[in-house]
């Protein structure tokens, strides 16, 4: 394990700093297997901010969770027991977060979420040491519901995989969609063929289709949907229209509306600088995961400047201030330590030969989350 710390904790080593690192950060994310693209972006976004800060008092240890909960738990144990980290971060998937976060914050560590933010950790299970820098899981789905309402759609056909995040997604959509449901379907997790569902959509006569199918599932669905000749407009959360996978969907995604808390064309200096620096450093466009990783690192750095990480109350308060230049523009924390932010509607467009997103509106303004009242700290 020593090799790993040395090989990957690039910051300290690269700067050859003689000073003992004051804050140790453990970044657990998915770097191998089918979901590796998301974790790699998270890591690269996070490390970009650390590199830009050029500080020698923060050491980052990166490990691959292989998208397996038990591996994530094992790494967290190792980082806590052996590397003695102060802060954990980086997990992409909700089920892995549920495996790691409660026990980590229970042991007095801070956890800053770069992506996964399940309802359990926002409501009764909230914790003063747990911060979500991304969103609350329901947010993008709620925004899709709000958008579908404001676009005047009367009936919607909604589908998601049959697992907890899928159910939360449809619940989130329904919370803000005021029309009727023309159909509600749960697909199998990892399903690759959506012909049957597309036939049901065709038969339903809905005004719009909402879907939450992360990763390869969304790629398959969109390609098959485009080929079916159906003209019903589609809306979904950003996950299926992410920079990493848009190229794999290609023209089939053109014109599709999706909701996101970040977009590369948010017009702030911080965002422009981030997009430019990321593209220059890694030779590809950043994704929402990269943006969230970048924000998380900057939030952490801002708090380190204000308080000692060993003083839980002071460090927690410093994080709550959110005194950093978010690439999302406005950013503050709700009492349950989840963001208050705008959620945008984006449209998939083609720029040259690259497919990407363009903001076309705002679905929700200053949205916190549904669970604020259930959180008692």
């Amino acid at each position: 394990m020593r090799f790993k710390a040395m090989a990957l904790a690039t910051v300290v080593a690269a700067l050859a700093a003689p000073v003992q690192a004051e804050v140790k950060v453990g970044l657990i994310t998915t770097l191998s297997g089918g979901g590796a693209g998301l974790g790699i972006d998270t890591r690269d976004g996070f490390m970009l901010a650390i590199e830009q800060a050029g500080r020698d008092d923060v050491e980052v240890i990166v490990e691959d969770d292989q998208q397996k909960p038990d591996v994530a738990v094992q790494i967290a144990d190792k980082m806590i027991q052996s590397d003695k980290v102060d802060v954990l971060t980086g997990i992409v998937w909700s089920n892995l977060a549920m495996a790691v976060v409660p026990s980590a914050v229970g042991q007095g560590l801070f956890y800053l979420s770069t992506n996964a933010a399940p309802a359990q950790l926002a409501g009764p299970g909230c914790n003063p040491n747990y911060f979500s820098v991304s969103y609350q899981n329901d947010n993008l789905h709620e925004a899709a519901g709000a958008y579908a309402t404001s676009a005047g759609y009367k009936t919607a056909f909604i589908l998601a995989p049959n697992y907890p995040a899928g159910k939360d997604s449809l619940t989130g959509f329904k919370r803000f969609f005021e029309g009727d449901l023309a159909g509600e379907v749960y697909t199998q997790l990892g399903q690759t063929d959506y012909a049957a569902e597309i036939a049901q959509i065709r038969a339903s006569g809905a005004d719009t289709v909402f879907f939450f199918l992360p990763g390869g599932m969304g790629i398959s669905f969109l390609k098959q949907y485009a080929d079916s000749g159906l003209e019903i407009p589609v809306v979904g959360p950003a996950f299926s229209f992410d920079q990493g996978i848009l190229q794999a969907i290609g023209a089939a995604a053109l014109g599709v509306k999706n909701t996101s808390s970040w977009s590369k064309d948010i017009d702030t200096p911080a965002n422009a600088a981030f997009v430019e620096a990321f593209s220059a450093r890694y030779d590809r466009l950043p994704s929402i995961y990269a943006a969230q990783g970048y924000d998380t690192a900057n939030l952490l750095l801002s708090a380190i400047d204000k308080a000692d990480v060993n003083d839980d109350a002071a460090f927690g308060a410093a994080l709550m201030e959110a005194d950093f230049d978010s690439v999302r523009g406005k950013f503050s924390f709700a009492p349950n330590r989840h963001p208050i932010q705008d959620i945008y509607v984006r449209e998939v467009v083609q720029e040259g030969d690259v497919f990407t997103n363009k903001i076309v509106g705002t679905a929700m303004t200053d949205r916190a989350n549904e669970y604020v009242d259930q959180c008692k700290m």
């Binding site: 144990d77 190792k78 549920m98 495996a99 026990s103 997790l189």
Partner: protein
């Protein structure tokens, strides 16, 4: 057979010495790794009873591992949320007591092994491999889509379950419990191999017709072996869930079935300490190679290929030479 015995004693000494050293030097994480290795060794020892003694190539042992895990998860979940398991016909509360959890894990996974065995043992050879794989997938998909206990998110158990007289939160004490179980099961396995049942099972594996002519039912012998095997792997699953304080459907995944089989084969099929050696090597490799390259699976694959192609008899075979199984 003294070389195999020497190998076994050396392995045993390492299982005691490494964590003891880690405890003294404060390398707590090494103890956690050793616990993981010991639990995998227990699961693989379970498979070795079916595979080594009974010749049953089960590619679905994750079913029992998962059932053991969920036995722990469900009981502890109800205990931590103060809700009863069921109110009818009598109220059954959850529990955080390891001995009760172990008993339930063993019984339920034995029952599952019995039911699966009744169906699967109608087939042999490749069909048996495939049908056990299919049962694994069945449980996997069921666990993912059944919402009551977390579905694909799994369940987090916030505090490790207790054992009377010990503080299981201290890694070395929990390790001691797991090691004790492994030793008990290894002793049982050695006894089983030399018992009348073990000899009959061995005969049923090599020459089923002959066993039949002396009036024994080879299928029944294999069924008993599968039930014992499933129960042991189920117990390992319960311990694994307690190590991670977390259960999820990945405990049922076919990759895990494959890994349990890998432990047995790289250690040495039918060798008493084969699964132990295999599991320890695997955990060590995962830890060391994983630290060097993100593509460590490639190297693991190459290593496995070499063991299959050139190193018959696994690790134990390489060190102790070929020979009769179990002394």
């Amino acid at each position: 057979m003294s070389r195999e015995r020497a190998f076994n004693l050396a392995a045993l000494a390492l299982l005691v010495a490494v964590p003891a050293w880690a405890q003294l030097t404060g390398e707590t994480f090494t103890i956690t790794l050793a616990t993981r290795a010991v639990i995998f060794a227990l699961a693989a020892t379970g498979l070795n009873i079916a595979l080594g003694l009974g010749g049953l190539v089960s590619l679905g042992h994750a079913v029992f591992f998962g059932i053991g895990g969920y036995a722990m998860g469900i009981l502890a979940f109800h205990a931590q949320s103060y809700t009863p398991l069921t109110d009818w016909p009598v109220t059954i509360p959850g529990t955080k007591l390891m001995p009760v959890i172990w008993l339930v894990a063993i019984l339920v996974s034995a029952l599952a092994a019995l039911l699966i065995g009744l169906l699967a043992l109608r087939t042999t050879g490749v069909y048996f491999i495939m049908i056990t794989l299919a049962f694994g997938q069945m449980f996997y998909y069921f666990a993912i889509s059944w919402p009551a206990y977390g579905g694909e998110d799994g369940m987090a158990i916030y505090v490790r379950n207790g054992f009377p007289g010990l503080n299981t939160l201290i890694p070395i004490q929990f390790y001691g419990l797991c090691l004790a179980w492994l030793l008990v099961v290894l002793w049982f396995n050695a006894r089983l191999a030399r018992s009348r049942f073990g000899l009959a099972l061995n005969a049923a594996r090599q020459a089923p017709q002959r066993v039949e002519t002396v009036g024994l039912d080879p299928v029944r012998l294999k069924l008993v072996a599968l039930v014992i095997s499933g129960a042991v792997t189920g117990l390992a699953g319960a311990l694994f869930a307690d190590l991670n304080r977390f259960v999820s459907p990945t405990m049922f995944s076919w990759q895990l079935s494959g890994e349990i089989m890998v432990f047995v084969i790289i250690g040495g099929v039918g060798r008493l300490f084969g699964p132990v050696a295999g599991a320890c090597l695997f955990v060590a490799l995962e830890h060391l190679l994983g630290g060097i390259t993100a593509y460590w699976h490639v190297w693991l694959g190459v290593l496995l290929l070499f063991i299959v192609l050139f190193g018959r008899g696994g690790l134990v075979g390489i060190f102790a030479g070929r020979g009769a199984v179990h002394d």
